[in-house]
Symmetry: C2
Subunit: 197 residues, 2 copies
DNA sequence: GTAGAATCGGAGTGATCACTCCGTTAAGAA
DNA sequence: TTCTTAACGGAGTGATCACTCCGATTCTAC
């Protein structure tokens, strides 16, 4: 259904061929993404488009002009999150201690996802996301993981797919245990210990 | 809202004070639970009540007579699953090898939840479920875990809360990786290794 | 400033869904 | 078999939601 209007955040639209958005339109789009992330995290993906529009101080029409479908909005929010994730991984990759970098990253992602919503929620999937972003995520996680493995801090028998699956599961674990920080910490420790050699 | 009609499956209703259900009513109730579990697992909890009624060969009215609310139906399905889980744990507790029993149980639950839906889905929570069932689950898991810990197969610094959180997270991991069995197995192995001493 | 296009706002639309109501059916006691 | 009544079926109801449409409002190039 959504074939042409597939561009997700602002990347391609703004830089290439298509004329840049008007100033107010850019502002609205950014604000919508911001608000949508917060609202979806707080009330789940069933939060209504109208609520997001109201919260962002725009009309529903504006939401649907920027994101032709609710699913497109969800995907855009998800892509944003993925981008940030990949950036964090990138920033840690050059660390002097790859093992610590890896575990810091893992812990950080899980802790963020415990309050914010789970990493991959409601049918949106790293697989289905634009290949550019997916490639970025896979590359960044791959470097971080490889570094930690070479340093002997992480076992050798896993790759990026296993890492992604564990990140998602551990996020769910943390979300479930979010009422008791001690439980949360001990549960996470088990996954981290399992990752070590 | 749902104060009085809170009985979930058939336990209390049938055995105590209230007159037993008519034969057809009992059949319908059981069939509804069965169908609902399958449908919710396949299409998520947003599957409509009408679809479940149709699949079960009854009218919507019948669904709402047995389960006054969609949420009540979801809870009943969930309680069923929890009961089975506790029974499985009970059956394994008397095993001669408590360590193997524990890991068999964990693996079994996770594998079931990978195709069926996640253990605790969509806002229904072990905490909110009738205390009788909750107690059963906690007792059964507690025995299994304690046995494995005494046998030296599982680390000592976790309890039932951590175990529940990990079961839920590992189920999510398995669900995410359900397309690639090898990934699924390696991810699960990491959690299991983390649980060992 | 002003023209003209891009963008906005929000009432309106059709679809879907949980839940109700009541006429009909059939279980089960006598 | 008959009578009572528990249980059933499914059309109907109101609410909600994603999405559309177009007149009103900016923005921006000149």
């Amino acid at each position: 259904m959504t074939e042409r209007r597939d561009a997700t955040t602002e990347g391609k639209d703004a830089m290439a061929e298509r004329r840049p958005l008007r100033a107010d339109a850019q502002r609205n789009r950014a604000r919508l993404l911001e608000v949508a992330e917060r609202v979806f995290a707080a009330k789940g993906t069933s939060a209504s488009t109208e609520e997001i529009a109201r919260e962002a101080g725009v009309g529903v029409g504006t939401v649907f002009r920027h994101f032709p479908t609710k699913e497109a909005l969800l995907e855009a929010v998800f892509v944003c999150r993925l981008r940030r994730l990949a950036d964090e991984a990138d920033a840690l990759t050059s660390s002097t201690d790859p093992g610590t970098a890896f575990f810091t990253f893992f812990t950080g992602v899980v802790e963020q996802s415990a309050t914010k919503n789970a990493l991959a929620e409601a049918g949106i999937d790293v697989q289905r996301v634009s290949s550019e972003v997916r490639a970025h995520v896979v590359r960044a996680l791959g470097s971080l993981l490889a570094g930690a493995q070479e340093a002997g801090a992480v076992r050798d028998d896993i790759g990026v797919p296993e890492l992604l699956a564990l990140l998602i599961g551990a996020s769910r674990t943390a979300e479930y245990a979010s009422e008791d920080r001690a439980v949360q910490a001990r549960a996470l420790a088990i996954v981290l210990d399992g990752l070590r050699r």
